[in-house]
Every structure is written in C-alpha cells, then in structure tokens.
C-alpha cells in the first residue's frame, strides 16, 4: 500500500497534467481504445468505458496555461474556461483525443461545441442535451437516445457494439468510485483535519483523467488511510462551497479558503464525479435506462438543472445542516451565468433561513488571493464570535 503522501503526489500530478499523459498512455496500450474528452459538469462516463474508451475530464487550463489564442475567440465579458479549453485544443494538448462531449450547462459551453465543430477538432463533437423533462418516459427516453448517439460515434471509430454486461460492469466500477469519494467526504465531515480540501481536490480530480480501475485502487487506499486518526484539529469553522461547478478555482484559492479559517466539508468543485447520489442499478437488462433514471431521480442539485419542483435552496440548506456546517461560501466564476443567476435565489432564501454566507467571484487563472483570504477570514471570525447565537433555519 502506498503512503497517503505518495497517493496525493500521484493525484496532484495527474489532476493538473494538461497533456493528459496517463490517458494517452492508456490509449496506446491496446488497439481500439478511444479517448473522449468531456467538459463540466456531468457526463455518464460509464458508457464510454463500456465502449472500450475512457472519458477524460477537461476542466480548462487553470492558472497553468497562458492564454494567447483563446482571447481572440472570446470577448472579455465571457468566462475564462472556454478560452483556456480552446487554447488547449489549438495547442494540441488534446490531439490524441478522438471526440469531445459538451454537456448542456450554459450558452457558453453550448456555443463552444459549435466552435469545435467549425474548427473540426476531434473525430466527433457531441453537444449532450441533458433532458430538462424529468419523466422517465419522456425526458428519460430522450436522454437514452443522446447516449446512443455517443455510442454510435465511438462505434464508428473502434467498431465496438456495447453489451449489457459491459455497461453493467462499468456502472459497477463507477458506483464503487462514487461510494469511496462519498466515504471520503463523510469522514471529512467529522474529521476534516485528516485530509485537507486541497488533497481531496487532487484525489477527486485525478479520477477524471485516469482509468476508473486505477482511480478506484487509489481511493481504496485513501479510505484506509483516513480511517486512522491522523492530523491535528484546528480552530476552524465548517463551511460548504457552492457555485464553483464548472470553471475551477486555482488550487491556491482552494487552499486559501482553508488557510483562512474554514474547513470545507462539502463543495461542488468536481460536481460531475459526485452528481449521482447513491448507486446506479448495475444489474439491469437496460443499463442505459438505469443510467437515465439515476440522472432523473438521483441527481445532486445543479445550477444547470431546472429545479422548480425541487428547489435548490432547500437542497443546499439540507447539505449545510447534514454536514454540520455553519456557513456557505458562494464562489462563482466571473461571468458564470448559471452560478450568478442562482445567487439571488440562494441568498434571499438563506437570509430568511438564517444561514450565514459570503460570496465572491474568481477566475480560473487568478493567483492573487489576498482579498478573498481576508474576506473568508473575517467570515470565519464573525461566525466564531457569534457561534452561540442560534441559527433560525427552517429547512
């Protein structure tokens, strides 16, 4: 078994390897393997696995890629992630990828799919139109058709017909993956000092760029390590981060929040890896239907899912309560429509519920966190000072 430090070092490298080296090596190990890049937030990676491929998360260049060409593609008032993704593509960081998936999350990512098509990047480009109708017989059927389109594209490349067994096997692997990530978050809820949020981030993000089998092995070992009472508790408040589900904050910012006096006990940084709550049925005769049902019935709330019948403010409030958090940090990428348009909904509701929060905006490439750190520090201090005051939450 590797030490925790060794695992974190592996994950740290993998998570930010903008050349996607491990994915490339994996592809070259066997004929017929395909690499399919997917953008945030969520994509059912199981179907790519079942088709002999690997789904690879593309979360932008962060603060590690200088943007030169990308700025010629996007105006200053559009978020940063599409320009770093196009920069990665034009600089051939993803030249070994066969196809690209653009999940339906916002107008910017949707239109980025069109730019990839126009630039003829990859063998296929698929805008994945997730259903906003949540009846299995309507939206569910449509979603299954969307997944079939992806499988058709892959079959055109490697000739593989996906079987029920292969899909169920993939579902099983990803169930294990989600379960172990969930276990890590549950441990951190009570013992957040055992593993920093920075380390959790490396571990979860690394899973988006390596084979799920390898990631599961690493996760198993992490789970073993954090069963032990390691680390030293510090005087910090517990918070939940919300709004950072697409363009990712730089790792320095993720670190700065904890350094400023907060334990982040839940977040939506890598929401896609935790999108499905609980297991997907891995024994179905119609696994695509099982995946579809899981999205419709077991999804985490998201700014990109129409929520009128399941209001997101109450779902976030429940997370805050169940994690024992005393506050929420709304961290939205600059110009991120879904996140920023949700802000008044959350904030108005939390004002009524008495849940404390702060909000700030970031960009994936900013690496000056002094102001944010001070803001978070003041937030933490103020909660510590008021900690005896009852929170009048009505959830």
């Amino acid at each position: 078994m590797k030490t925790l430090k060794e695992i974190i070092d592996i994950c740290k490298f993998q998570a930010f390897d903008l050349n996607f080296t491990r994915a490339k090596e994996w592809k070259l190990e066997k004929d017929g393997r395909v690499l399919v890049g997917y953008m945030p937030i969520y994509f059912p990676r199981e179907i790519i696995h079942a088709a002999g491929g690997m789904a690879v998360g593309i979360f932008g260049g962060g603060d590690r890629k200088q943007i030169i060409k990308g700025d010629a593609y996007y105006q200053s008032y559009i978020c940063h992630i599409p320009r770093s993704i196009i920069e990665l593509a034009l600089d051939k960081h993803m030249a070994h990828f066969d196809g690209f998936i653009f999940p339906s999350i916002c107008d910017v990512i949707r239109n980025l799919s069109g730019i990839f098509k126009q630039q003829k990047i990859g063998k296929f480009v698929k805008y994945m139109d997730f259903p906003q109708n949540f009846l299995p017989e309507i939206g569910g059927v449509f979603y299954q058709q969307e997944m079939q389109h992806v499988l058709k594209y892959i079959k055109e490349i490697n000739g593989i017909d996906v079987t029920i067994d292969a899909l169920n096997h993939a579902i099983d692997l990803y169930n294990k993956n989600r379960k172990m990530i969930s276990y890590i978050y549950n441990i951190r809820q009570d013992f957040p000092w055992r593993l920093s949020i920075e380390d959790v981030y490396y571990i979860v993000r690394a899973g988006t760029v390596m084979p799920v089998e390898e990631h599961n092995e690493l996760l198993e070992q992490v789970c073993e390590h954090i069963k032990e009472n390691i680390g030293v508790p510090q005087d910090k408040i517990k918070v939940v981060i919300s709004g950072a589900f697409c363009e990712q904050p730089a790792i320095g910012l993720i670190k700065a929040i904890e350094e400023a006096g907060c334990y982040v006990v839940d977040d939506d940084y890598m929401l896609g890896s935790r999108m499905i709550l609980g297991d997907i049925d891995a024994s179905s005769n119609n696994p695509l239907e099982a995946i579809s049902n899981s999205y419709i019935k077991q999804s985490q709330y998201s700014s990109s899912i129409y929520d009128v019948n399941n209001p997101k403010e109450y779902r976030l409030a429940k997370i805050v309560e169940s994690r024992g958090a005393t506050g929420v940090i709304f961290a939205a990428a600059s110009f991120c429509d879904p996140s920023l348009l949700d802000a008044p909904i959350f904030q108005n509701a939390f004002n009524k519920m008495g849940i404390r929060y702060i909000s700030f905006q970031y960009s994936e490439n900013i690496n000056q966190y002094k102001v944010i750190k001070e803001q978070v520090g003041a937030f933490s201090d103020s909660i510590k000072l008021w900690e005896d005051e009852p929170v009048t939450a009505v959830i």
Binding site: A72, Y77, Q118, Y127, A343, I345
Partner: protein
C-alpha cells in the same frame, strides 16, 4: 432638440395592436382571461391563443422599459437584491420592474401570471429567469418545454417526438387545467394557417432588401417589423393584415425608388449595405441607428430579426401536423442553431442581399448570442472576403453603451469600406 419620428401607417397599426394587448392585460382579472408569461424565441403563440390566454413577454417589457429610459433604475433595484452586475440585463430589468410594482411600458399594471410557460429555446438564461419568477409568483403554474438544440444542424425525428410528447403529456393537460378550456386541435390548426400566412408575408418583406436602394432597414426598422409576429399576434388575422399593409407600403417605396424611413425621415443615399449579427442596444436605440443612417449605411439583413423564428430558409408552420410543427418552430429559432449553421445563414444573407460588410454588435450580457461571435466573424471574413466590424454594447443597461466608442469604431469601419470601394472602382476602370 429631439426630432419627432416619421410614422408609417403600418407603425400606427402595430401600436394599436400592442396597446390593445396591454389594455387586455390590465383588464385580465376583470375579464377572467388567464395570463401566460413566456419568451419570444420558441413562443407558442398559437397554442396560447387556442386556450384564450393573454401572453406577457418579459424581455419585451425590458426592452420597452429601456427605450423609455426606465431600465437603469430597474437594473439597480435588482442589483440591490443580489443580482450580479454581469448577468443578463433583461432579467434584472424585469425583476426590478416587478419589485417596483410591475407597471408595464404603457403605464398599466401587468397582471401576475397564471402560467409561466418556459420553452427555453436557445437560451439557458430563460431557465434561470423563470426559476427566479417562480419564487416571486408561487401560485403560477410552471410549464416547462425542453427544446433540443440543433447540435448537428438538423432537427431529427427523435427531437421532434420528444417535444411532441412534452406537448401532449405535460403542456396541453396543464393548460387545460389552468384555463378550464378543453384543447381544440381544429382551433390550433386555424391559428397555424394564419401563422403561415404571416410568415410568408414577413419573408417577402425582408426579401425586399435585395432592391437597390433597399426600401427598408432590416435591423433598426426590422425590430419593429417582427413585433406582431413575435409578441403574440402570430396566428391571427390582425398580424396578416398588418404584414399585408406593411408589404404594400414597401412596394410603394420600391416603385418610387426610395430608401428606408429613419426617425429623421427618408434616408437619401444608400452608401453601404450591411448585415448585422446580434441584438441592438435598446437604451440608446435612436442614437445607435443615427450613426448608421448618417453614414448612409443600411442594414439589409440581421440575425436578430430571426430570433423569434427563421423563415427565410423556407420553414413554415404546417397545420396538417400541428404539434410537430410547433416543435419544429421552437427548434428553428436563430439562437437554437449551432455555430456553423449561424455562419451559413449569415453568409447566405451577405451574398443574397449583396452586402458590402458584416458588423457584429456584441452584447455584454447575452452569451447566447455573444459566445462564438468572434470566430464566426473570422470565418465569414475568410469565406466571403467581406470587411467585418465589431462593436460592443448591451441590451438594456445604459452603463454599457458608450456612444463615442461605438461611433469611433463605426467611423473607422466606414472609412475602410469607402477605401475598399475606391480600390474596387479603380480596379474595374
């Protein structure tokens, strides 16, 4: 001193139609009519009329507020209530208007919705907008229609079937429940026949820009022309009559060899023919237009006039397949087209209407249009070797309309067009 705008008969007709709608809305509670809030792209006007409902278009209220210089105060009100500076200003203007009593652009109160009908064609912000409105109007019934995006540049039978299922199993039963009116497909078909007729007329109207001089401006005047077909009158005899009248006025202008009517009268000389991509700025609409007509520039086609439906590629409502036809309509609005389709459509406009140039008006707070405009512009420039220009403004937030910046950029652009003309003429000689 502001000069009074010159008005054509069709403009007066349109004003009467819109005033009538707002009067009906103000009296909705007395008359018992149900009120349906919905959006322009993918608006299901014919279905709304089938259930005798009155439509309210929040984005129209926003742009009308901007033209009446009220949007700045509404936006500030929304921003005081946690709305970000960086999101769609239509949303903030609408929310601010609601917070200040929901008095509509004509000065009459807009009634609360009985239905929030969300067919969020080509714009994710619509979805977020109605999530916000639902919390303000908890008694309204929300009806969601997911319109698939034309990601591959086609409307597949699967996409149509998905939408039709939503109409049959969700939209229509819920409309029946709210209105107490049973769905009458024959009535819907009659509206669709009239919708097709209006679509035929508006296509002919926008096609008149092939003439030299162009008898109309397809952007600045075009946004008025699309009014009736987009704001609830599509599918009515009133809309057909309006477009017939408008077409006959334009024919007369062609016969007389006249250019477009501007707020300061007829445009005397057509020097440049342009295609414009992107919505206009509404807060300084006349100043914005003036920059163009002062330079002798006429817009012969624009993407914005296709936001409520793309008819110039031949698509029409079809009363023989009513629900399928509604589905296709929703999927075929401009912002539901993928980027290569948008490039093809705009290229066709530039070629067919013999444009001298292509201008992008990039809107700060509208990603549905703005994301992708730069590579689109470069592709069009490469493909057609047409001079391209780029300006930036906003929909209804006056803070983002910089008159001098826009004027400077456009003047430089027109100088470039002029030099190009001189070079071409000397080459021909």
């Amino acid at each position: 001193m502001t000069q009074e705008a010159q008005k054509e008969r069709s403009m007066i007709l349109q004003k009467e139609m819109i005033d009538g709608l707002f009067n009906d809305l103000a009296k909705a509670k007395e008359t018992g009519k149900k009120v349906c809030y919905t959006f322009i792209p993918g608006n299901l006007s014919e279905l709304i009329r089938t259930f005798d409902m009155l439509p309210v278009y929040p984005e129209i209220n926003a742009l009308q507020s901007a033209m009446r210089k009220k949007s700045a105060a509404y936006i500030k009100e929304a921003e005081r209530n946690a709305h970000s500076e960086d999101v769609c200003t239509y949303v903030k203007c609408d929310v601010g208007m609601m917070m200040k009593g929901n008095i509509g652009p004509t000065g009459l109160k807009i009634p609360e919705p009985d239905i929030l009908l969300l067919s969020y064609t080509g714009c994710f912000t619509f979805l977020k907008w109605f999530e916000t409105l639902k919390r303000e109007y908890p008694n309204a019934k929300v009806i969601m229609v997911h319109t698939p995006y034309q990601e591959n540049g086609v409307m597949t039978p699967e996409m149509t079937e998905y939408m039709v299922k939503q109409f049959k199993e969700e939209v229509i039963p819920q409309m029946e429940a709210v209105t107490g009116i049973k769905y009458d497909e024959e009535k819907l078909k009659r509206h669709l026949v009239l919708a097709k007729e209006a679509q035929d007329w508006i296509t002919k109207i926008f096609d008149t820009t092939k003439h030299r001089p162009s008898p109309i401006d397809a952007y600045f005047a075009g946004v008025y022309y699309i009014g009736p077909i987009n704001i609830g009158f599509r599918g009515t005899q009133e809309a057909v009559d309006y477009y017939k009248e408008l077409y006959s006025e334009i024919q007369e202008r062609i016969r007389l060899g006249l250019g477009p009517i501007t707020p300061e009268g007829e445009m005397k000389e057509e020097k440049y023919r342009l295609v414009v991509e992107g919505p206009p700025n509404w807060t300084s609409f006349r100043e914005f237009w003036k920059i163009f007509y002062d330079m002798g520039a006429v817009i012969v086609a624009s993407s914005y006039t296709k936001v409520g439906g793309v008819y110039d590629m031949g698509w029409r409502h079809d009363s023989t397949r009513p629900l399928e036809s509604l589905a296709e309509y929703c999927m075929n609005c401009y912002t539901n087209l993928n980027i290569p389709q948008r490039i093809d459509l705009l290229s066709k406009c530039i070629t067919e209407y013999q444009a001298d140039g292509y201008i992008t008006n990039s809107i700060k707070s509208c990603n549905s249009f703005s994301a992708g405009q730069l590579p689109m512009m470069r592709e069009i420039e490469d493909r057609l070797e047409v001079p391209v220009g780029f300006i930036e403004s906003d929909l209804v937030d006056p803070r983002y309309f910089s008159y001098s910046n826009i004027k400077n950029r456009l003047e430089s652009y027109f100088q470039m067009l002029e030099q190009r003309k001189v070079i071409h003429e000397s080459e021909e000689v």
